[in-house]
Amino acid sequence: MSDTKHTEMVEPTATSAVSADTTKTLRDEPRGRTGWARILLGRDAIMIYLLIATIVIAMISIPRFASPVTVGFLLLDVIPVLLIAMPMTLIIITGEIDLSVASIAGLTSALMGVLWQAGWDIGVVLALGLVVGVLAGAFNGFLVAVVGLPSLAVTIGTLALFRGLALVVIGDNAVANFPPELTAFFTSKIGATGIPTVMIGVLIIVVAFGVILHFTPFGRGLYALGFSTEAARFVGIHVARSKFWLYVASGGVSALAGIYWTLRYSSARSDNASGLELAVIAAVLLGGVSIFGGKGSIPGVVAGVLLIGTINYALRLGRVSDVVLIIVTGTLLIASVVAPSILDAVKRRRHDRRVRRELPQAQPSGSVSA
């Protein structure tokens, strides 16, 4: 059936139907923003302004902060969080969570160490590292998406399991003698820009996740199923399949983070990246992703990751104790969720006042149907 035919079909109905709009609105009440205003005043934009403000303040108040060296060191520090935050964003948007990411990175690292020690080719070592991450992710995905178990509980279990396997694999050894060319590559910079070479790969991954989430049918489906899996099923979204692949992606990207970690620090150990999961989740939530699912964006999360990274680095450069840093991180996190509800309360109060002005408290009804 063609589009035009369809139009004709419904049009008559529309014209003959009631046209009374029962949805009255108040005068001079701010409407939902549209177009550019929505983008420029949105949650993501605010995160980006905050990031820029932080950078500017740091440049002014902390000597030497304004330098390409900062860019290099800062980015090298945030790469693992930034990487893992990508699939984590998608997973949290679907209303699930993955706490096992850091353990997968640790497992990858441990396995790389053992294989490399045993004399395997480095290419094979890297490939197997990635494969084990993907398998670990698939295991999570199977339990969460296929069996339908609650992800918070499942991934607390696999958090222990994967870290435990890392210990089983490498024990208390640490493997350090990775090929120097390779480890050097992982800390190398692009010319004089100070930007680490590996950022190119990271950027590709970030853009890929951004496009998937924001510009594909799959991404649209993720938001829908984040709010209501049942309604999502009724529009043909493959709920289990979508979630399964997200966990696989999470496992794969966590493995990449594990590889990066191993080669950047040139050290494969069972405890690599331990505790990173909470840092990633903190950054993702700060970036505006709702822990209940359905809300969030990649630009916001990138800004969130960089904001924490920048504050982190600036405070260290200013030799401010890490004590302050964790207090700041915690406060930011709380502020990021509390601030909107305070704003809401303020808005509601203003609204109430306006309403009282517009709706006389006791007006004779007398209205009779004519």
């Binding site: 060191f73 640490a174 050290s267 150990r269």
Partner: protein, 320 residues
Amino acid sequence: GGGSESGGGSGTEGDQTITFIPKQLNNPYTDVVLGGGEEGAEAAGFASSAVVGPLDASASSQVSFINAETQAGTNVIVIAANDPDAVCSALEEARTGGAKIVAFDSDTNPDCRDVFISQVVAKEVALIQVELISEQIGGAGEIAILSATANATNQNEWIKFMEEELASNPDYADIELVAKVYGDDDDTKSFQEAQGLMQAYPNLKGIISPTTVGIAATARYLSTSEYKGQVALTGLGLPNEMRPFVKDGTVTEFALWDPAQLGYVAAFAGKALADGDLTGEVGETFEAGDLGEREIGEGGIVIVGPPTVFNAENIDDYDF
């Protein structure tokens, strides 16, 4: 002094800076070491000294502190490495920027530092502990080791020497090392590891814990259990922490060096390096303030002093 060719924030002699990066902040042993370090830094003539470091003793967490110091143009970085290799590339970068690197307490990979200030000769520490435990258990029986983290450089080196000594020295032929466990320098974990040892090895006669957190936690467990007085305990501990356990008989003797001296000497070594008076070659010497002249030994290692053995008689003479 010679012109140090620092890149980033080159310091003439008058405005040199030094930064200490311990394994972990807010740890009592570390605080004593750092106290000595800051005193040394002042005495050696640094314009300013700072202490930065992570709140957790994880392998890679020190790297971003090194990076920040590199960028800040610090002249001397004194570090106790959580992982000998993980900090390496960052230290290399710092050196490229002109900084001098002094490792203390726990060594880095020798390639990425100028000197290592060691408490004592590693082997000597190991032997003393074996000797103490052997005395306490009467030269025969099962013993176990309760260490810090599985990757701790210094602990692992001592353990290696202990194992070698137990295997080779005929005096210890009747002593059997049955287990090595790790308390991760965490009070709770060490406590439970000690407890697990008792159950898993009913015939256990003694425990060596070459880490201050581990020995204190183990002592606390023993003193509150039926094993008090049955199982001997020795290792490396802080006198202030161990005093009650020595007094109540849980522990007879344990050892340690003076941690403050470690920091103190490290500061002077850093100063000599920064001034160009020292390059890190074997046989070079430098003046370490009140502690006199020190020499760089094999592998670029400077030994601070012999360990002290503490027991009920002498423990009240020490306050750290």
